[in-house]
Subunit: 566 residues, 2 copies
Amino acid sequence: MEIWRINARTHEFSREPVPTEWAHLGGRALLSKIMVDEMDAACDPLGPNNKLIFAPGLLVGYHLSSCDRISIGGKSPLTGGVKEANAGGRTGLQLVRLGVKALILEDQPEPDGWRLIHLSPDGARFEDAGEYAGLGVYATAPPLIERYGDKIAVALIGPAGERMLHAAGIQNLDKDEAPSRIAARGGLGAVMGSKRIKAIVIDGSQGTNPPAADPDGLKEARKRYIKGLLEHPQTQSYKDYGTAAMTMMCNTFGALPVRNFSAGSFEDAELLSGEHLRDTLLQRGGDCEPSHPCMAGCTIQSSNIFVTLDKGTKVSPLEYETIGLMGSNLGISDLDVVGRLNWEVNDLGMDSIEIGAALGVAADAGLFDFGDGDRALELVDEIRRDTELGRILGNGAGSTGKALGIERVPVAKNQAFSAYDPRAIKGTGITYATSPQGADHTSGLTIRANVDHRDPKGQKELSREKQIDMAGYDSLGACIFAAFGYSVDKSVIPGLLNAIYGWDLGETALQDLGRESLVHEREFNRRAGFTKKDDRLPEWVTKEALAPHNAVFDVPEEDLDSVFDW
Amino acid sequence: MEIWRINARTHEFSREPVPTEWAHLGGRALLSKIMVDEMDAACDPLGPNNKLIFAPGLLVGYHLSSCDRISIGGKSPLTGGVKEANAGGRTGLQLVRLGVKALILEDQPEPDGWRLIHLSPDGARFEDAGEYAGLGVYATAPPLIERYGDKIAVALIGPAGERMLHAAGIQNLDKDEAPSRIAARGGLGAVMGSKRIKAIVIDGSQGTNPPAADPDGLKEARKRYIKGLLEHPQTQSYKDYGTAAMTMMCNTFGALPVRNFSAGSFEDAELLSGEHLRDTLLQRGGDCEPSHPCMAGCTIQSSNIFVTLDKGTKVSPLEYETIGLMGSNLGISDLDVVGRLNWEVNDLGMDSIEIGAALGVAADAGLFDFGDGDRALELVDEIRRDTELGRILGNGAGSTGKALGIERVPVAKNQAFSAYDPRAIKGTGITYATSPQGADHTSGLTIRANVDHRDPKGQKELSREKQIDMAGYDSLGACIFAAFGYSVDKSVIPGLLNAIYGWDLGETALQDLGRESLVHEREFNRRAGFTKKDDRLPEWVTKEALAPHNAVFDVPEEDLDSVFDW
């Protein structure tokens, strides 16, 4: 494996051997190590000293179901701190087939013109991408596939990234050529835009699958992993209902985001449920798919393909987070409206969580009536038309709250809460507050633990455990649902890593990776000026009682300050 | 003297004795002490736990020319840190005549309706102020004077404060009943708006002038002060030209803000000079006044009254900072245009520095052509009409840069640079970077020192000295120009304080006050989460060379980190 380094200004390209101290790392853990080793944490996130880094997880490329994810990182324009966002699709696998352990994109040119970078076994070359400027991702992907072949992976940005909006993500082609697998959070699309790169085309078709030190050991460990995965009861549930299975669970817990986080249960929750979504997809038929793999060979297939009734808009996937933030959070109960909103932000290349939260704040400010889907779509169109209001919304929920003078803004480190109200699921609230990534369920969701989620006691330990595990999975390139397979047998993860790399890791391999990630991420944030005051939720969550359980976020500050004292 | 405390939600009012440890403090030094003693530094600046505090300086009320200023403070919605902004006019004196050492406004009501607070020897009462809601300050002041008499002081907000825009200040009536003396910086008008207080009417006419422990000693010290003031050569210069005398000085130093801080000298600087302003005022005659006192009894009279040609708009004062930020910074060389822009932001109740800087950023983003005054006025009208663009601009230069995707944003701690480019006047650049208040010339302007302002060496010590002195003057209630009088004889300040309060202070009385202020301010910011990473200028000033001298800001970070190691 190599480090590939590309200068976006001079177009210099180099292949470098992997430094010894990076060799044991991948994905999220490698990103934060590179950031701490190479970057000035005080840099302007949209200036020349920020780097945009792509690092496949350690298990990518070994035909392991749900383990081909790509981690993308850099300094976040949204949070001002460290950022890793990961996605499924093809990018991770194609990079690994080129032998790339990390791709580091540096510097920035004068802000004129747009380029794409083409990667193949021959190395990297820049090409003009002016013809794609301003296009949504759904219009950009087909001509790229036409031009470079259907084996390629593509990581690309939409108009939001080009305009450096802070809610812009980086989209990745999925196995069906849809550019909808988004490394969504924290504005990394804006970082790519600041470097004037519209797309990175990765053609690993002439590359090779990565070798394993012990092929037989790998086979054996893979078998145990798949067995664990298939046996786990959640696997079938996620295949049937996708992440939308969460809607009713959250509604029951009183944790659903409803009308800008002003309530925790929604009168029309059933219309947004996984069951209703599945029924709709089955009934609608055609291109609709209730179970769909985002990466080749996925067993879980938690993704889906949703085709809206009106215009036949095709969304893949429609996820619980989007349903929560763009559905109940906006008082909207019509899945077709949610699907159209989702398609729009996908096409713009934006984080649907951040935009859903921003729209909720906008509704609280009177810009539209909760439940008015047409008006919500008009507001998203403001982003597309690049109006001033569009700029406000496109910079996220925090920006919208500041511009419109709203106090109830659901953010931590200026990044929007996911679809779990932190007052009702307090462990996840601790994760929102303390994760170096900003508010994010994928940094350590606690809802599946069998505890009283409204009792502040013991949540610190739970959040800690989940934050460590998730940072570990993000370093493997493993989907959160792969955890089902790994959780059955603690020897599987070290078994896989040892067989692939010839290492000698013990049972804490996952946690060791996770802790190393978190240590480096916190160090980067410290250098960027973060203190424990940044590990807090906004004041209103500690005061405003959440219906129906009248919960407030009452986790003591000492708990927030000691999450990482392990 | 007493502490008056008012709850904006419950309308409770109490008079409290001054705690012993506050007794030796006034103005800025008292504000930061109260904030550290009473406030949760992590509070939401626009939430119920922020406090809005009014504290007259220690010398207010003793018939000392240029020493009747009011300090207003609280947590800044613009910087997220400590904030003191002071102003001339009548507010300080009228509070002292009521025996108020500090007025502390707490909590906030539900956001409906507007109230005013009336203060007199009878205490505080709330009255409905709904009829003034939405009115500019120039329309609000006359009916208040009509209703409460022409002896009152008024501290009030305009539409910007009502809408909680982060560039909103608090206006104060001057001696001629113009509500144009603004405690401008850091968004304290938004804090007042968050408490739903449109105006505070202070009727000290039935109050009493404060007593002096040693009236003869006071008389003698006052005489020496006035003598120093009259003898100082700058006094006449500021009387004749006002602060606009700075235009040509800064132009010569290459430190004038020109077209969003992209150059340091301006081809039409002479049209913005103090000389040209004076000639214009003398020639125009009528209500124009080249020399005008903002407080009763002022010897310096650096203020002026400028009446624009077209509509006869009356602006008092037209200051260098406004001329720099709304003139050359926007490529505008017509004083009448600057005057009209100034009147508009005054009427809205906003900081002309912050809005001038925001407009410069907007021009860089292509929203108008530098030099197009009509378009600049249209953009200010967007703020008045409360459009989305108006909200972006009204939240300041940082907000504008983020919304419009501009890197060259002249801010430190998210507050706009004053009209001295930090690359050309590096000591002032250190002040911008390290002042707990955010970028602000009044926190420690170094331009009058006889040094090479582009040489980074020795600037740290200079900035430190000026920051300490200015924090001291802000605690006395002394105008920056009163320093002319005090600088002649070091025994004058302790002489005045000892005669008034019966103290026994030595020659470092001013610096002791200044240092105590800074220590508390930095402690508040520390608790709010600030680190040395916040004591930095934006990255672009360290890279982008400033014409005509090609200066960059190259003060070593170690110098920035040791400014307060005294």
